[in-house]
């Protein structure tokens, strides 16, 4: 059960533009176990999507560079594979779904055909068989197979996202990267889609990396959590640890700024200031400027990962001080 499916070691990604270098991902370590759903939580520009895109190696080519690191998938380093070998992994072993279902589907092909095509790309089967499996996939995500030959514009947003999910799962991937899959949907539709994803995950045993900014969605669906801030994972652990014993000031700040339904308070507690400019990161802790707990030493050197409990690490020197 505790088998590692994906292990990211010291990943660093930079975007080189004419004016500056954007340090998008810095020294990220992440492990995804088989059958696990891990939530990558963070704000816009924190580097969540870049991490996911590096796994599939679909970063925008001229500017993005993977500077260092290893991405071990079933013990093979994806970063060392040739492009041809990588194509066999993409969509087959690892699939990705994006935030906007509208742009992920080809508007001039029927949805069924698109799923069947995805299946045939990775499997040597006849078109008839692929079609049959595409029908099964549609049924599985809760779309009647009579809608096989309809076009994307005939589907609503939630239905389109279901089609996209069906397409992503059609080759039985071992890992699904879901980049804000429900952000564009209404809450009641989001509830439907999350519910469906959960039951599919149970049935197929797929591991999921769920990228989201919504801690509520994380609480509902994830087994473990990694909090991303300014290109680093500042805290990671099981969902119980993060929600009950959050230790990093940023994680605590995130919880404080959430409007909560069952809270009686009239004021929110926002985190002051903003994320640092990724072209000009501070030498010490990236959260230093905004941190209520900051001391002089925080600004001097990057904080190490401190293990506060088994599997629960925090990138903060203050935590160590408290424990010691």
């Amino acid at each position: 059960m505790d088998e590692k499916l994906l292990e990211i070691r010291n990943l660093a990604v930079e975007y080189h533009t004419d004016e500056a270098v954007v340090y998008a991902v810095n020294n990220v370590n992440l492990t995804v176990k088989k059958g696990e759903t891990i939530g990558l939580v963070g704000e816009t520009g924190a580097g969540k999507t870049t991490i996911a895109r590096s796994i599939l190696r679909i970063l925008p080519p001229p500017t993005a560079r993977i500077v260092s690191g290893e991405i071990l998938f079933n013990s093979t380093d994806l970063l060392k594979l040739s492009e041809k070998e990588m194509q066999k992994v993409r969509g087959n072993k690892i699939a990705m779904i994006f935030q906007d279902p509208m742009t992920a589907l080809n508007p001039i092909e029927t949805v069924g055909f698109q799923i069947a095509e995805a299946i045939q790309r990775h499997n040597k089967i006849t078109h008839f068989e692929a079609e049959k499996r595409a029908c099964d996939m549609l049924e599985m995500v809760g779309i009647p197979m009579e809608r096989y030959s309809e076009y994307p514009h005939q589907f609503s947003g939630g239905m389109k996202q279901r089609v996209v999910i069906a397409m992503a799962l059609s080759c039985n991937p071992e890992l699904l990267l879901a980049d804000e899959p429900t952000t564009a949907l209404d809450v009641t539709i989001q509830a439907q889609v999350l519910d469906m994803m959960e039951s599919l995950k149970k049935r197929l045993g797929t591991s999921v990396v769920l990228i989201t900014h919504d801690l509520g969605v994380v609480a509902d669906t994830c087994d473990s959590v990694a909090v991303v801030y300014a290109g680093e994972i500042v805290e990671r652990g099981t969902v119980e640890h993060i929600f009950d014993f959050a230790a990093h000031p940023y994680t605590l700040g995130l919880f404080g700024s959430l409007p909560q339904l069952d809270s009686k308070e009239r004021r929110l507690k926002p985190i002051k200031g903003m994320m640092p400019d990724p072209t000009n990161l501070p030498p010490g802790c990236r959260f230093y400027e905004r941190c209520p707990e900051a001391i002089k030493e925080c600004a001097e050197a990057p904080p190490p990962d401190v293990e506060v409990a088994p599997g629960h690490t925090v990138k903060c020197i203050r935590v160590k001080g408290d424990a010691a």
Binding site: Y15, T17, D18, T63
Partner: protein, 285 residues
């Protein structure tokens, strides 16, 4: 202080443009042509209208590096003076066309409904007549002269600008900042001039640069068929037309002005291409 900001925007575009070597060369050529047009009297070795029957169709010489035409006029001097007419035709006619096009396009696009329908159907009718044929007939009606050729070309090319502007306005119109402007009591005129036009003019700038090239070409064509600049004032198209009669014996008479037209049109198009990339914010990073 605010002026400085506007300048930095231009600087940004220049920064982007600089990367495109071809566009920089094109810009350099155009600047050079401008300078030639402005300083023509100082640059030209001879008066453009001075005839010398002894030198009729003479080949290149130290005195006349490009030779003399059939009336013995210095070809180099005529080319240099011709820059003035050609550039005028290109730039002024495009300015007329773009001004009318921008206004028409933004009014049609902003108001929509019957205003849009009416103006677009009128443009349909307008465009049913080939642009060059229209310019030719206009020039013929107005009488041949540089000014009339410019007016004819300007009016003939309005529809292209109007349509691009309208399409661009249609997307800008839906932006929330236009609604925000209405919510703070901005009048339609202010909205069109301060909100709509500055934000939808981007695609047009490329069209305008390229339009200069095509108007130089069309202007030369008008002069070629005798509806543009009148002799003895030199103009490249007219010079080619003039050289027709001695084409077989002295092909260079037509070649030189032809090259001038080609180079200036090419420069405009290449610069337009470069500007398109430089202005596109998506290509910035």
């Amino acid at each position: 202080m605010r002026k400085k900001r506007k300048q930095s925007r231009l600087l940004e575009v220049w920064h982007q443009l600089k990367k495109n070597k071809v566009a920089v060369v094109a810009l350099f050529v155009l600047v050079l042509l401008f300078l030639v047009a402005i300083f023509a009297p100082y640059l030209a070795p001879h008066p453009y209208e001075k005839q010398n029957s002894k030198l009729a169709n003479a080949g290149p010489s130290r005195e006349h590096p490009l030779g003399n035409d059939r009336l013995g006029r210095d070809i180099l001097s005529r080319l240099i003076y011709g820059t003035r007419q050609s550039l005028q035709m290109g730039i002024v006619s495009v300015a007329i066309a773009a001004a009318i096009g921008i206004l028409l396009g933004s009014v049609a696009g902003y108001y929509g409904g019957w205003v849009d329908n009416l103006s677009m159907r009128l443009l349909d009718i307008y465009q049913a007549v080939p642009m060059f044929l229209l310019s030719v007939s206009l020039a013929a009606i107005l009488g041949p002269s540089l000014r009339n050729a410019i007016i004819a070309l300007g009016i003939g090319t309005v529809p292209g600008y109007a349509r691009i502007m309208r399409a661009s306005v249609l997307t800008v119109r839906e932006k929330e900042y236009v609604e925000a402007a209405r919510a703070i009591n901005a009048s339609d005129i202010r909205i069109i001039f301060k909100y709509i036009i500055p934000n939808s003019i981007g695609p047009l700038i490329v069209q305008i640069t390229m339009g200069v090239g095509s108007c130089i070409l069309a202007g030369s064509a008008l002069s070629f068929i005798g509806l543009g600049v009148q002799p003895p004032v030199p103009e490249w198209g007219a010079m080619i037309s003039d050289a027709r009669r001695v084409m077989r014996e002295h092909p260079t008479h037509a070649l030189y002005p032809g090259l001038c037209v080609m180079i200036s049109v090419l420069a405009c198009n290449l610069l337009g291409d470069g500007l398109r990339d430089a202005l596109d914010p998506r290509l910035k990073n």
